[in-house]
């Protein structure tokens, strides 16, 4: 089921066509999902536990490659390129990911953490370039003022919310085409959650964001378009406001009204 999405008049930056992911032969965690993601929007993927939303997200940046028993079929087109046929390393530079548990690298300083994407990819930068990237990335997540005096320290003393923003900065530093966020605020307190939600609303001017969330109010608050998944299937997707006020599918309505969760 699809309603007219917010597209900013542009063509999709990411297209999923019949995307399926299975952990064992015959059973599908994600079953033939087809949808478009438009630039400079926030798209929320929501649904009850186990519906396949994280699995779907992780398929986009080929994280399932790490686990040989997982099979992915279908098409993922990112900026015109077929993700499943590309070199996974290149995919992951184009699609940045932020995880549920903040994971700044404990053996690196805050400065080095922001640049970790470059370091891990063996990209050599001049000091001036490095400084620029670090300042810019930390500013865009609103962390610069808070950490500018402690850049050389390891990030473990930062609060959960700050650590997560650092991880976002780290992902943004590589200037990804799309930012994939897997329940980024579910491990954080309400105030940090709020800060990050505001941040995302700012970021969408420059980036395209897909956010998996188990909190439908979060989806309602910040997303332009939404996808509702149930048992691996894409039940309904479209304009968030429309979906929430007038869901076209009975399942969607039941989920949104709390019949099941």
């Amino acid at each position: 089921m699809e309603s007219v999405k917010i597209a900013n008049g542009k063509s999709p930056v990411l297209q999923l066509k019949d995307l399926s992911v299975s952990y064992s032969p015959g059973s599908y965690a994600v079953n033939r999902v087809t949808t478009d993601i438009y630039p400079n929007t926030i798209t929320a993927i929501m649904g009850p536990s186990g519906c396949g939303k994280s699995t779907l997200l992780r398929a986009i940046n080929r994280m399932h490659d790490l686990y040989p028993h997982i099979k992915t079929t279908g098409e993922i087109i990112l900026k015109g390129k077929n993700v499943l046929a590309m070199d996974p390393m290149e995919v992951r530079r184009m699609a940045g990911m932020v995880f549920q548990q903040p994971n700044p690298f404990p053996t690196m300083s805050i400065y080095d953490n922001v640049l970790a994407g470059y370091r891990l990819n063996g990209i050599r930068l001049k000091k001036r370039e490095k400084d620029e990237i670090v300042v810019h990335s930390l500013q865009s997540v609103g962390l610069w003022d808070e950490v500018k005096d402690v850049m050389t320290k390891r990030g473990s003393f930062l609060s959960g919310g700050q650590q997560q923003r650092l991880c976002i900065a780290r992902a943004l530093a590589l200037n990804p085409e799309v930012l994939l966020m897997d329940e980024p605020t579910s491990a954080l307190d309400p105030i940090s959650t709020n800060k990050i939600e505001e941040l995302l609303l700012q970021l969408k001017k420059d980036f395209t964001i897909i956010i998996v969330t188990h909190n439908m109010s979060q989806a309602a608050r910040i997303s332009d378009n939404s996808m509702f998944m149930y048992l691996g299937e894409l039940v309904e997707h479209g304009n968030t406001t429309q979906m929430f006020t007038k869901p076209q599918n009975k399942r969607t309505e039941e989920y949104l009204t709390g019949v099941f969760g």
Binding site: D87, M89, E90, R93, Y118, N121, G122, I123, R124, L125, E129, E132, I133, H136, L174, N175
Partner: protein
């Protein structure tokens, strides 16, 4: 703002693959010595590996020399070594299990206390002691006062070696048991003593027993401390105050005697079989009795 520089993807993937190959290669090489040693011991030892090995005592150098001159197989076996090992290690098991069990229980139940921390540290200290130094200690404590070498001295040395291992494995096993076991027992009105012996130890039996087996397999092959304490004997000896032989001691004797040297491989084979058997049983017990 983006810095699209070449990321040398091909070069990095090449490095990745090379590193993987090197890791596998070096791991493979690291496994070779085991196979070389086993091959040596088995191929050189199976000839003399017969019933005589277990039933006869070591031949004298003279008899061995005569036999070799006549082209006959060396008479004799390692019976005195086997009985000696049984005696010495047996006594060591007795001492170390008793002590080690209680100390392990103490450490598991008194975690915060200063005294327990000290005991724990000292246990680690004992564990790290070189075996020859333990031999010196047993010499000082038993051989000197008794005026001679003895099986008792040997078992004191092995006890000191086994004790830290048994303390640790008992402590770790008991620590891993859910606190609910102890609490349930006490809640039923049982005494602490009963809870320990009727509930905790039986529940942790797997881990404790494995620890004992591993400690035994470790000390069975020890030579150095026994050289300074039990010395060795050419006859079967069950008297704990007399010098006694042991399998590793015999191997050492054979090694040093050109007439008996052929026996080193069959005795080593025997020793290895026993040690590997103990390790294997320990693994099975550990698996079956998973806490």
């Amino acid at each position: 703002m983006s810095y699209y520089k070449t990321t040398y993807a091909g070069w990095r993937k090449g490095k990745d693959r090379t590193a993987f190959i090197l890791v596998c290669l070096f791991s493979l090489i690291a496994m070779f010595p085991l196979f070389f040693i086993l091959w040596d011991v088995v191929s050189k030892g199976y000839k003399n590996f017969n019933l005589r090995l277990f039933t006869e005592i070591t031949p004298s150098s003279m008899d061995a020399m005569l036999a070799r001159m006549n082209g006959e197989p060396i008479p004799g076996g390692i019976l005195n070594g086997i009985t000696g090992t049984v005696l010495i290690v047996g006594m060591a098991i007795f001492f170390s299990v008793f002590l080690g069990l209680f100390i392990g229980i103490y450490l598991a139940d008194n975690r915060g206390k200063r005294f327990a921390a000290v005991v724990s540290y000292l246990t680690d200290l004992l564990q790290g002691m070189p075996s020859i130094v333990i031999g010196i200690i047993a010499y000082a404590w038993v051989v000197k006062p008794l005026g001679g070498y003895s099986a008792l001295a040997g078992s004191v040395a092995l006890t000191v070696m086994m004790l830290p291992m048994i303390v640790r494995s008992t402590e770790e096993t008991l620590k891993m048991l859910p606190a609910a076991y102890k609490e349930a027992g006490l809640a039923l009105g049982s005494s602490y003593t009963t809870v320990v012996f009727r509930i905790l130890i039986p529940s942790g039996f797997g881990g404790i027993f494995t620890g004992i087996l591993l400690a035994v397999s470790r000390v069975m092959g020890e030579t150095a401390p026994l050289m300074l304490t039990a010395l060795g004997a050419s006859v079967v000896n069950w008297k704990i105050l007399e010098p006694t032989s042991a399998i590793p001691l015999l191997i050492w004797d054979f090694y040093n005697d050109p007439n008996l040297v052929d026996l080193i491989w069959s005795s080593s084979l025997f020793l290895l079989i026993v040690i590997f058997l103990l390790n294997w049983i320990a693994k099975i017990v550990a698996r079956k009795w998973k806490v």
